[in-house]
Structure formats: structure tokens, C-alpha cells
């Protein structure tokens, strides 16, 4: 963990972040961003506190990925401010990574692009996403779901202070998605890292989230999953059916499906 501004003065806090949080690891204030003449973010404020799981939801084109990219410093704002705790270590899983077939790359190499890791660490992290058998496979032979798991493993492998995951459940079936979010919650419990998630799968994401921002160019509403499910703006955007799904999450299978098709029974 980097030593950030742990002192408790009010001025250390962003002025207009609507929800209280202790020492944001990353925060975006009053962000406005235009691309190709289109307003993508309008006066958006958002922050992720220490050991907090924050989820951005919203319809396609709501600016979720753009807001995340802004927070990471990958996009420049027209106006507004981005603050990141000094020395913040980030594990980032982008929404899309297109690997060029001409670049030969094993999973092992993909995992260690920017940092060397021991075999033990590599095996352990791949094992946690149930793809340990793929360590020496070429990344070009992976299925969409396998690659998604490898990407998640890669983001976790760095033992980040902040895990940023842009739709980690894509290409993964519902049971797999539930597993992924359980894994994220477990990781946070074990390491105390913060998590910033982008998702449009309300069913599974809410179980593991502390705070939700509902985004549609601007922040429509934000709060705990319970709070926003009753919010008028949320209902307008997603409909009452979606709000209802927020209540269904705790649900257990007596077995799990590994990506290779085998079935693991829970004990």
C-alpha cells in the first residue's frame, strides 16, 4: 500500500464528491469530456475509497469505460480534475485487448509483461481463476472465456492497491460470472485492495459491491445497491425488472463448472 494522504483534514477531500468516503485512492471531480463533438461525460464526480468495491453501471454508451480511462489517466479531460494517491499500484483489465496474431506470446509471458513473477505466484493466480493448465499455452489459442480469466489473473497478479476491471464478466457464462465476482470479493477481503468495476450485468455484480454509480453521461444516482435500486433515475434507466434483480443475488450452486468442462462439487 502506498502511504497516501492519511491525515484527516477536510481540504484533503475532493469538494464535490457526493458520497462520503475515507481517503479516496482515486477520484474524479467535475469531469467533462467531449470526443468527436459528442459530450461523453458531463460534470461527473466519482471516487474509490480504501478497500472499497465500487461499480459503475449504465446503458451502452453511458461513458463508463471513458470514466474509468479518465481515472487511470488514459484520457484527458476537457475540464475537471483527477487525483490518484501517489505511488498507487493499479491492476487494469481493459474492456478489450486485441492481441496481434503476429506477436508470439505465451500466457506466462503475457502475465509477466511488466513485472517478473515466480512460477509459484503464476500458478497460484491462474489456479484461483481455474486456468492453471494454460500457463504455457499460446494466448492466441485461448477461448474468449479463458482469455477473460487470464486477464483477471493478470490484473490480480500485481497485488494492486486498486483493481480496475472493465466488464470482467464478458465472454463468461452466468455461473462463471458469479464465480468471478466471488473471487473479486474474496481478493478484497484477503488483500484489502480497492476495486473499480464496470458492468452492465446487474444480476451478479451487486452482491459484491459496496457502492454503485449509475452513469448516463452524468451520474444519475449513486449509493449502496439497496439505495439506488429504489431511486427514480435508476428505475427510469433500467426499469423495475432490473431493480428487482438486485434482490436476487445470494444464490448457491452445489457444484461449479471449471472452464475445461469438469465439475467441482462444493463441500
Amino acid at each position: 500500500m502506498p502511504d497516501t494522504h492519511t491525515h484527516d483534514h477536510a481540504h484533503a477531500h475532493p469538494t464535490q464528491v457526493p458520497v462520503q468516503m475515507n481517503d479516496p485512492l482515486v477520484s474524479v471531480e467535475n469531469a467533462t469530456l467531449t470526443r468527436h463533438g459528442r459530450r461523453i461525460l458531463e460534470n461527473v464526480s466519482m471516487g474509490v475509497g480504501r478497500s472499497e468495491i465500487v461499480t459503475l453501471i449504465g446503458p451502452n454508451g453511458a461513458g463508463k469505460s471513458m470514466l474509468v480511462r479518465t481515472a487511470l489517466g488514459l484520457e484527458q479531460l476537457d475540464t475537471g480534475r483527477v487525483m490518484r494517491a501517489p505511488g498507487l499500484k493499479i491492476g487494469y483489465q481493459p474492456q478489450r485487448v486485441s492481441l496481434d496474431e503476429t506477436l508470439p506470446l505465451s500466457v506466462r509471458r503475457f502475465l509477466t509483461l511488466t513485472e517478473s513473477k515466480s512460477d509459484e505466484d503464476l500458478n497460484a493466480v491462474l489456479d484461483s481463476v481455474q486456468v492453471a493448465h494454460l500457463l504455457d499455452a499460446s494466448v492466441h489459442t485461448l477461448s474468449g472465456g479463458e482469455f477473460q480469466r487470464v486477464m483477471l489473473a493478470r490484473a490480480m497478479l500485481r497485488r494492486p492497491d486498486l483493481l480496475v476491471l472493465d466488464e470482467p464478466e464478458q465472454n463468461v457464462d452466468t455461473a462463471g460470472a458469479v464465480e468471478i465476482y466471488q473471487l473479486i470479493a474474496k481478493l478484497r477481503a484477503e488483500t484489502g485492495c480497492s476495486v473499480l468495476l464496470v458492468s452492465h450485468d446487474l444480476n451478479v455484480v451487486m452482491a459484491a459491491t459496496d457502492r454503485v454509480y449509475c452513469l448516463h453521461g452524468h451520474v444519475c444516482c449513486s449509493g449502496t445497491p439497496d439505495e439506488i435500486s429504489g431511486h427514480a433515475e435508476f428505475l427510469r434507466l433500467f426499469g423495475p425488472a432490473a431493480a428487482k434483480t438486485l434482490a436476487v443475488y445470494p444464490h448457491h450452486h452445489d457444484h461449479e463448472h471449471a472452464p475445461d468442462g469438469s465439475v467441482t462439487h462444493a463441500h
Binding site: I90, L99, P104, L105
Partner: protein, 267 residues
């Protein structure tokens, strides 16, 4: 035995292949073939600049290469003009302007064919010193940025989020490419430089399982193409630069066949 000019040609050509191969891999991975072409075409303007300044042509070539390379890098980052259109405009206007300026210089006899198609049989001992000094320096620089450059090539956003300085890495790469093109021009000429960068790299892809083995393979296959092409040109009295490129193309064709065979036997 062989004539001195032949020995010098082989030594010089192999020196260029040793740096063109590894850098060419990045040109292939980053889909920058047209970028290499543009730099090569701008080399002719560089020759003209060298004549105007009264310096060695290679000084003019390096200067224009750096200017064009950096200009392209900046314009590309702004994403205002489609890159391929921009490259097409710069590439052909640089070629045209170079030809016009050289055409005006009646007082100086310029071996235009030599610049367009290379004049490897005319390399001098000092050319060889330039080539090996240059290639050694370029390889050393490439070695120091290798890891971040691979990370940025795989996915720039992910690399930046993990703390890699993508702009600096790309800047170094642009300079390396500009200098490599300047070195390679002597051997195969403006019109065939890109071929020496990308064909050995593409041929090496079939046999490579890691970025490093592909870079090594490209250097070796490039050297084989130089030696094979030169001896073919001696044997059948064909133009030397084009013969080297044709030999490289032959190796690429063979690699497609051999790659398929290897893959079959693995199954």
C-alpha cells in the same frame, strides 16, 4: 576467391540485417509497414537535404527521418487524421520533393538509382564502420527498452496503467526505426527498405514461440537473405538490392510451407 567488393557487400548487408530483423518484428507487430515506407521515402528528401547542406547524405537522411518520425508520432497521438491517409500523403510528397530537389542539382551527379534501389556492391570500408557502429548502438538501445516496448506493443493502455511511460518508449522506438532505415537505405535503397524490415520478421513468425525468438529468427533469416541474394546477383548478374529482397521473399514463402509442415507433425 571472391572479389573484395563482394566480401564488403556481404559484411555490410549482414550488419544491416542484424538490426533490421529485430526492429522489423516491431514494425510487423505494431502494423507499421507503411510507416517504414514513409520514412524510407522521406530518405530521398534527406539525400537532397544532405546535398544542400553539403554533408554526407546519411546525415540528411537521419535528420529527415527523425523529423518525419516525430511528426508522425505526434499527429498519430492526436488521432485527427486517419493514420494511413496521413502516411500516404507524407510518403509520396517526401519522395516527390526529394526527386525534384535532386533534379535541380545539376552541378552534383547523384546516383539516383543507387538511392532508390541501393548500391550494396559499392560499400566502402567506412560504410561498414558506419553500419556496424550504428547497428551495435541501435541494438544496445533496443535491448534497454525491450521489455517496456513489448508491453506497450501488446496493449498500450494496460502498460500505461501499470506505470510504463508509453510516450518515452515510443519515442525511442521511432528514433530507432528512423536510424535503421537510414542504415538500410545504403543496402537496398529507398524503395525496398521496408521489405528488409518486415519480410524476415514475417518469415520468422512461423517458427517463433516468443517475441525474443522471433527477433532472433528475423535477424538470422535477414542475414541468410542478404547472403543468398548477393550470391544470386553475382551468379546471374541481377540487381543486388532487389535480389536480396527477392531472396527474403523466397524464405518467407518457404516459411509458410515449413510452418504448415511443423504444425502438422506436432499434431
Amino acid at each position: 576467391m571472391f572479389e573484395d567488393f563482394m566480401v564488403r557487400a556481404v559484411v555490410a548487408g549482414v550488419g544491416v540485417a542484424l538490426i533490421a530483423g529485430p526492429l522489423g518484428c516491431f514494425v510487423v507487430w505494431r502494423r507499421m509497414a507503411y510507416f517504414g515506407d514513409t520514412l524510407a521515402h522521406a530518405g530521398l528528401t534527406g539525400v537532397a537535404l544532405g546535398l544542400v547542406l553539403g554533408t554526407e547524405p546519411i546525415v540528411g537522411i537521419i535528420l529527415t527521418g527523425l523529423v518525419i518520425g516525430l511528426a508522425l508520432m505526434i499527429l498519430e497521438r492526436q488521432r485527427r487524421v486517419p493514420t494511413d491517409a496521413l502516411l500516404g500523403i507524407l510518403s509520396h510528397s517526401a519522395l516527390a520533393i526529394g526527386l525534384i530537389v535532386i533534379g535541380f542539382m545539376e552541378s552534383v551527379r547523384v546516383n539516383l538509382m543507387g538511392y532508390l534501389f541501393g548500391d550494396i556492391l559499392a560499400v566502402s570500408a567506412s560504410d561498414i564502420a558506419w553500419i556496424y557502429g550504428g547497428a551495435a548502438a541501435l541494438l544496445a538501445i533496443l535491448f534497454t527498452v525491450w521489455k517496456p516496448l513489448i508491453a506497450v506493443t501488446v496493449d498500450e493502455d494496460m502498460a500505461v496503467a501499470e506505470g510504463i511511460n508509453a510516450v518515452r518508449t515510443q519515442l525511442v522506438f521511432t528514433v530507432l526505426i528512423a536510424l535503421t532505415v537510414a542504415l538500410a537505405m545504403k543496402i537496398v535503397g529507398v524503395l525496398l527498405v521496408t521489405a528488409l524490415l518486415i519480410i524476415p520478421a514475417a518469415a520468422a513468425r512461423r517458427f517463433a514461440r516468443s517475441p525474443e525468438s522471433m527477433a532472433l529468427g528475423a535477424a538470422i533469416l535477414g542475414a541468410v537473405a542478404v547472403i543468398g541474394g548477393l550470391f544470386a546477383s553475382l551468379q546471374w548478374d541481377t540487381p543486388s538490392g532487389p535480389s536480396v529482397v527477392a531472396a527474403a521473399a523466397g524464405l518467407f514463402a518457404l516459411s509458410l510451407f515449413a510452418g504448415a509442415t511443423i504444425r502438422e507433425s506436432v499434431r
